[in-house]
Amino acid sequence: MNPAIKNPLLFAIVFGLIILTGIFNSWNVALNILNMGLISAIMALGVNMQWGYAGLFNVGIMGFVALGGLGVVLVSMPPVPEAWAAGGARVLLALGVAVATIAGAVMLWKRLAPGRRRGLILTGFLIVGFFVFRWLFDPAVAAIEAVNPAGTGYLGGLGLPVLIAWPVGGLLAAGAAWVVGKTALGLRSDYLAIATLGIAEIIIAVLKNEDWLSRGVKNVVGIPRPWPVPYEIELQKSASFVERMQAWGYDPVVASSITVKLLYALLFGVVLLALVWLSQKALHSPWGRMMRAIRDNETAAEAMGKDVTGRHLQIFILGSAVVGLAGAMMTTLDGQFTPGTYNPLRFTFLVWVMVIVGGSGNNWGAILGGFLIWFLWVQVEPIGLWLMDVITSGMADDSALRAHLLKSAAHMRLLTMGIILLLVLRFSPRGLIPER
């Protein structure tokens, strides 16, 4: 079929599915799917930059998403003055010492002549640095976490508007990507995969355990909303809103939650459109052609004088920043930051399925994949439950097998996603909207 007809048709089908959910299920559910679909599409766009443009295999998406969420906490939560007074300066000093130690070690490594002497000096330097860091760090952390642990127990953020936090989340992710890229790029492609897998686990471990930074598994709740989005309760109190909704024949309570979701969708949609416009421009610029040339034949590109590792680092950072931005948006939408819920299957591999199914190398494909796979991810569970119900309907009500099958239906998701990924890779490796 002609792509000019086929591609809009595919999008129409996906949005049609979401609208059908709204009609048959509820508009709240449909708008939830739409909002998370928009965020998923942005994540898929970021991963598509890395994989589709440059062929970089990043399996640490979860970590970058979580860093974006941390950005929201650090920027938009109100600061906790008591905690800052108790140990804020000392923690910052400790972190400064840690960074200085690593920078100093890198300097020493470069300055000193190779040999055993360098190794000994470097080891000694790192050990001293580590103990100074711990000596500064531990009491400060204990002091901060002792400040009202049930309510705060952390430093809090800067108290700035949430919209500022989004780019900051992207920057945090970009910083982590720089560290990983510096070490693992330029080596075999598998190494980047393993290094990103590792950094993601570590980022989550840090967020779960460093209570002074992110409250750990106690979660940060009550993250303020971005500028145009009001709280439902305010809408319900506003006389003009209630009047207008009643005039249109809607229940004000339902209408308020739908208005909030629509505003979020608008906000996310604007970000997505801006990103798509930028990515399309980039992809069709000389820079984008260079990237694809590098992806298709690294040796030839290098012979043409292109800095392959440098370009890879650049796009790896860019893609991770986009993923971080999406992570920040997701935390904003949830209104809370819950480090315990980040799970590689949900945040890393699902995004991969989106990119592969949608069409790697094509921005529109990645977006389509984001919406479609998110829709399936949400809907597979009820469908699986229904399927199990049908399969087991012949069994006795107290049958242990039936109970087990019904209980396990929730795990159908992973199975379905794996099968979709393998089928697409096998029979349509270029995805639904292939690269031109």
Binding site: G55, F57, V59, F130, D138, T183, A184, L187, R188, S189, D190, Y191, A193, I194, A195, L197, G198, I199, E201, I202, A205, V206, K208, N209, P344, L345, F349, W352, I356, K407, S408, H411, M412, R413, L414, L415, T416, M417, G418, I419, L421, L422, L425, R426, P429
Partner: protein, 336 residues
């Protein structure tokens, strides 16, 4: 100064746990390294292969237990292990036939294989959760200790006890037997030699008439056996939880890379390097230092370098150091 008590404490909390954990990692890393050497891709499904094999073993163990079959002081799981291995081998051969072979024929890029293994990982993970559920399962029975801390204290009259769990003893003995058998197979048998030849130089091996499909078949079977054994030993030692097995991927990959991907000796060495560093960095050294330092110098804190939650950070840090300074690993691996 009380060197003897210090050493016993060290052995009890560091050396014994690290040796058994290291053996488990080494068996896992051997599987990863064999696949890398012969099929030439990093298999992300390895943790879930381990989980699958362990799951089958657990189910058979429960069945045996319900029949009243047991091995005395040894865990029943050892009796069920062959069933787990057979099921895993069958599953791996089926995935190879159904999935990997197509890409092998196409001579697809390694990164495509990695992605396919990601899909396989999803499916296996889903399968395991579907059948046995995502929760914690304990299936160890038989005697819990070879020597318990109390017996050791009574025997020696020391203040510190040295406890050796049955699972630790079984782990080490099994690992030695398995590794010996594997190296005998690789170095002495015709099939093993053809596997090594295929790993060293594919084209040359094909020219000399080695059947690649046969080599691949044997590789998957060996990997299935290794992964199941590693998984069951880990489960006996700690407990079985699908997500934990998935997370073992990182230390196992770190072990394989530290030793040099594609090099079996390296994988074993790497397993122990990772295990010992994880345990020493996350252990609270106060207990040992109390015996070594004069009383007035006794440490106030726990002297723990890092909290146990960061054990993955340790394997990751080692991985990064090796990637930066010696990308081919301690023993010469094949990739750059």
């Amino acid at each position: 100064m009380d060197l003897l008590n210090a050493f016993v404490a060290l052995a009890n909390f560091v050396i014994v746990p690290a040796i058994s954990y290291g053996s488990q990692l080494a068996l896992g890393a051997l599987g990863i390294t064999l696949i890398y050497g012969i099929l030439r891709f990093s298999n992300f499904a390895h943790g879930d292969i381990m989980a699958f094999g362990t799951m089958v073993t657990i189910l058979v163990t429960w069945w045996f237990q319900s029949l009243g079959i047991s091995l005395g002081f040894l865990p029943t799981a050892l009796l069920a292990l062959p069933f787990g291995i057979a099921a895993t081998m069958a599953l791996l051969l089926a995935t190879d036939r159904g999935i990997y072979r197509f890409y092998r024929r196409q001579k697809a890029a390694p990164v495509i294989f990695v992605m396919v293994s990601l899909g396989v990982m999803f499916i296996m993970n889903g399968l395991v959760r579907f059948i046995i559920g995502p929760g914690d399962q304990r299936f160890a029975d038989g005697a819990r200790f070879i020597i318990s801390a109390r017996d050791f204290k009574q025997m020696t009259g020391l203040r510190e006890g040295l406890a050796i769990k049955t699972s630790a003893g079984i782990t080490v003995i099994t690992a030695i037997i398995v590794v010996a058998a594997l190296f005998w197979f690789l170095n002495r048998t015709r099939t093993g030699k053809s596997m090594r030849a295929f790993s060293d130089n594919e084209d040359l091996a094909l020219l000399s008439g080695i059947n690649p499909e046969r080599v691949v078949l044997y590789t998957w079977m060996i990997v299935g056996a290794l992964a199941t054994i590693a998984g069951v030993l880990y489960g006996l030692d700690k407990s079985f939880k699908p997500f934990t097995y998935f997370q073992l991927l990182l230390p196992m990959f770190a072990a394989a890379i530290v030793g040099g991907l594609g090099n079996p000796v390296g994988a074993i060495a790497g397993g122990f390097v990772i295990a010992f560093s994880e345990v020493t960095v996350t252990y609270a050294w106060k207990k040992v230092l109390v015996y070594l330092l004069p009383e007035n110098l006794e440490p106030a804190g726990l002297v723990q370098l890092m909290s146990t939650d960061y054990k993955f950070a340790v394997s990751f840090a080692i991985l990064i150091i090796v990637l930066l300074f010696k990308p081919t690993g301690l023993f010469k691996g094949k990739s750059v």
